[in-house]
Symmetry: C2
């Protein structure tokens, strides 16, 4: 087994954040999967007959849409891309795959960042769920929406809104990611603080098991204690235990008012104390608590057209606080003012601005949303998606900064994200004037340092992006022992031939 | 396999709600388990050596404390009761059990209602977790509490309260039930509407697997996407996949104010409309929405000392609405008044009383809490714990009432419970003057009618009490097919010798 620490990095000059030598990556990945025989023509015909000629694409026909992914790290390879139009077609595909031991890779909106949705050999069949895109039912009293897995997240948000309700899952990729993928990767986003991860927003699922059999679990029940929790097992399994084809999602009353403040602070410790005060005042009405560093603000203001600094002066740290009220904008505003007043009196806050208009609120959010992109013009960026206990975020930052700066003295650390969830996007921009390729070549060296500290602090090296191919070996190493063996036993028991998304998440 | 429909009923005159002929039940249960050899003296010595003589009890010594349960439906039988004092001792016990293929039954506070915590033959070893009763850590910033599985729920509530925080799980049995059992049965209760089931309140678990190996999963992370969700698989598994020995639980900011109204309504449909209005006004601040029928109110007022009717007149239905505010009692009161005003204006509400004192609030809650006990003096009661989609509760009641009254014309139906969760305690008191034994002998006939309607309405025959022994056969029948087979595959993969709580929940 090739050690993940040796994952080859490529020195290139492309503008994508890609830094992995895809040719060598291919060899590396190859070592993690079972050998896959190419599909023969007769088998391709049998798969094609299930979905019809127009929904069975060759590698050339599928091309960029299905076989490249956002970071261009995991080049897709597949002799056959299928676009089933019904759950029964998905079932028939998997049944045939099971019979013929053909590996299947399920794919939704193809926005995943860890390579989970990409086939890696011509012998793997890609099954794209996009044609399963119906909103099946909205229950306004029970506040649920039942959807096909291929529904784009934004469409679900809009359908909820039209019904006078609210679906809180919110991600950068929401215009193209699909619910099936959101659930399979247990996607996070900015709504987690008040509403939870994707897992917490799902009441029931329908899925095709590795045998091709369908689990009809589209339950709309808030309480149901009938046996093992297969729903939560399939959620977050990245398509390795079954293909999610439909889901019942929770909807929420639409907040009647939202108020947002942009706050300048001298330290992350103070941001954490502000969080406690905000939670004490607002409880579940605290719907966002994001944190940003000064350097990130400077990058955003420099590289984002039309972005304006919400503050009159610079501060070491910033926090974006959002309060939602079920009663009125006034109530949200009163809560926000009350918590800020308490924080000011406690000397925790340097300055604060409350958005006075929708445009201003949008500008506040823009500071947060552009933070990732604004690092690009500054050169190479080594990225991490980690979480630690919320109270440990300051200590994590202190230790990680010290270790990273010891390794790369002029590195520019842009640590930001979901403070209320303990989820830090710990990104490191290259030193000014450094060689980008040489900097990016240290990705794994730096990753090992950062993830080592995360492990010591009982954190996670995969907070919201999943495992896929990118972190499969790290998962195997870090969970070695009974936990990994239990996962492997479950995988083997449900997918004895290892046909579903082989090599992703779990190694059997 | 004996069909569950034939579960023998006993005509007796005991005051417990028991109605099952335990002798014949024993034969029935026996048919569901693997044959168990009695423990030999040498093996008992080996187990005893792990926990020490004083923590290894014989059947006679264990007696009532460990081997009888609340409903007296499932008489316990075990030659050996072990009380381990550490996780390592639990691990050593299970390791020895695995080596010797000895069946193990884990037990917490012994308050379960479906027999999951009772051993059923002298060859089964009972492992009681009560000595693992330490509160390990409270994290006031991250708002978590880390506890041993044997901590009594009420102690956890109190520890949270002392730390200025709030643990919302709340059950009738909270003075004796333990966290390990709460999680193993995914207990519900009155806090589910705003805070979720036990499952939703747990961030991490520590557990001993059937191999005796320990999973160290006491994570305090709000986001962690590293592999399959073993935590949720073990939660609700009723000790059949592992023994939970510790847990990290979520704490919440303590509400600064709570206000409660008792509302009289003409129909359950109107109660449902009131629920929508309440959710619209209060969102997550709506912390209880319980419903009660007139007949249940009459029983409670008649049989509960000191109980007073909160209303001046009688109404067909009642609802108890609780609003919690993070800011003040005034805010909670304003929200409550606003939603009641809207409901009055819409003609949904006949009368409403808002509690003016803690004593009055306690009296309102008492109406709800005594409802189960108040049925006892009225004779035999056939009970169900079902859930349907919230919007379907009125239709369920209409159909179930019609079918039950067709079977037993003068039956007195007392349907009450957690309307906001779609969870109905559909209890049926015997006709006035009827023969109690003859009435109770129809438990399964009536159960089949009620559960049949529940199934047609895509509901659950086990909303919050679990499967245990009582509903294991019904689970097998109702989920027959890929879902049950997937559960069975998981059980077999993790517990190949079937030593953990055999015959409970799943039949292998």
């Amino acid at each position: 087994m090739t050690d993940f620490g040796e994952l080859p990095l490529r020195a290139d000059n492309r503008s994508t954040p890609c830094c992995v030598d895809t040719a060598r990556l291919g060899q590396y990945i190859g070592s993690m999967t079972m050998p896959t025989a190419p599909l023969d023509a007769a088998l391709i015909d049998r798969f094609t007959a299930i979905v019809g000629q127009s929904n069975a694409l060759s590698q050339d026909e599928a091309g960029a849409t299905y076989l490249t992914e956002p970071r261009d790290l995991f080049p897709g390879k597949s002799a056959l891309v299928l676009r089933p139009g019904s759950v029964d077609e998905v079932s028939a595909i998997v049944r045939l795959a099971s019979e013929t031991r053909t590996p299947i890779v399920p794919q939704g909106g193809n926005t995943g960042l860890v390579g989970g949705q990409q086939p890696r050999s011509e012998g793997e069949v890609l099954v794209n769920l996009s044609r399963l895109d119906q909103i099946r039912e909205i229950d306004p009293v029970g506040r649920t929406i039942t959807v096909d897995a291929g529904c784009v997240l934004q469409r679900v948000q809009e359908a909820a809104d039209e019904a006078g309700l609210f679906f809180p899952l919110s991600l950068g990729a929401q215009g193209s990611c699909q619910i099936g993928g959101n659930l399979s990767s247990n996607a996070g986003g900015t709504g987690v603080l008040a509403y939870g991860n994707s897992r917490d927003l799902c009441l029931g699922i329908e899925a095709v098991l590795p045998s091709g059999e369908i689990i009809h679990g589209l339950r709309r029940l808030k309480k149901d204690n009938r046996g093992y929790d297969l729903r939560n097992l399939l959620i977050g399994a990245e398509g390795t235990l079954g293909i999610i084809t439909g889901a019942v999602l929770k909807l929420f009353p639409k907040p009647k008012g939202k108020e947002i403040a942009f706050v300048g602070l001298s330290s992350v410790e103070n941001a954490l104390k502000l969080l406690s005060i905000a939670e004490g005042h607002a409880g579940a009405s605290l719907t966002a608590f994001e944190f940003l560093p000064l350097i990130g603000m400077r990058f955003t203001l420099k590289h984002t057209e039309g972005a304006r600094d919400p503050m009159d002066a610079e501060y070491p740290w910033y926090v974006l606080v959002e309060i939602s009220s079920q009663r009125s904008a006034e109530e949200a505003g009163a809560t926000l003012e009350a918590l800020l007043t308490e924080a000011f009196e406690a000397g925790l806050v340097e300055d604060a601005a409350i958005a006075q208009s929708e445009a201003q609120a949008a500008n506040f959010w823009r500071m947060r949303e552009e933070m990732s992109w604004a690092q690009k013009p500054e050169g190479g960026s080594i990225k991490h998606d980690v979480s630690v206990p919320v109270a440990s975020v300051p200590e994590f930052l202190r230790r990680a900064d010290e270790a990273v700066l010891a390794a790369i003295p002029d590195a520019r650390i842009v640590a930001f994200g979901h403070l209320g969830d303990g989820n830090v996007h710990y990104n490191i921009s290259q030193p000014v004037g450094a060689d980008k390729a040489a900097f990016l070549a240290r990705w794994h060296e730096i990753g090992a340092i950062v993830h080592g500290i995360v492990a010591e602090m009982e954190g996670s090296f995969s907070a919201e992006h999943g495992i896929g191919v990118l972190k499969a070996e790290e998962l195997r190493r870090s969970k070695a022992g009974p936990e990994y063996e239990a996962m492997r036993a479950i995988k083997t028991s449900l997918d004895p031939f290892g046909i579903l998304n082989p090599g992703k998440l779990i190694q059997i």
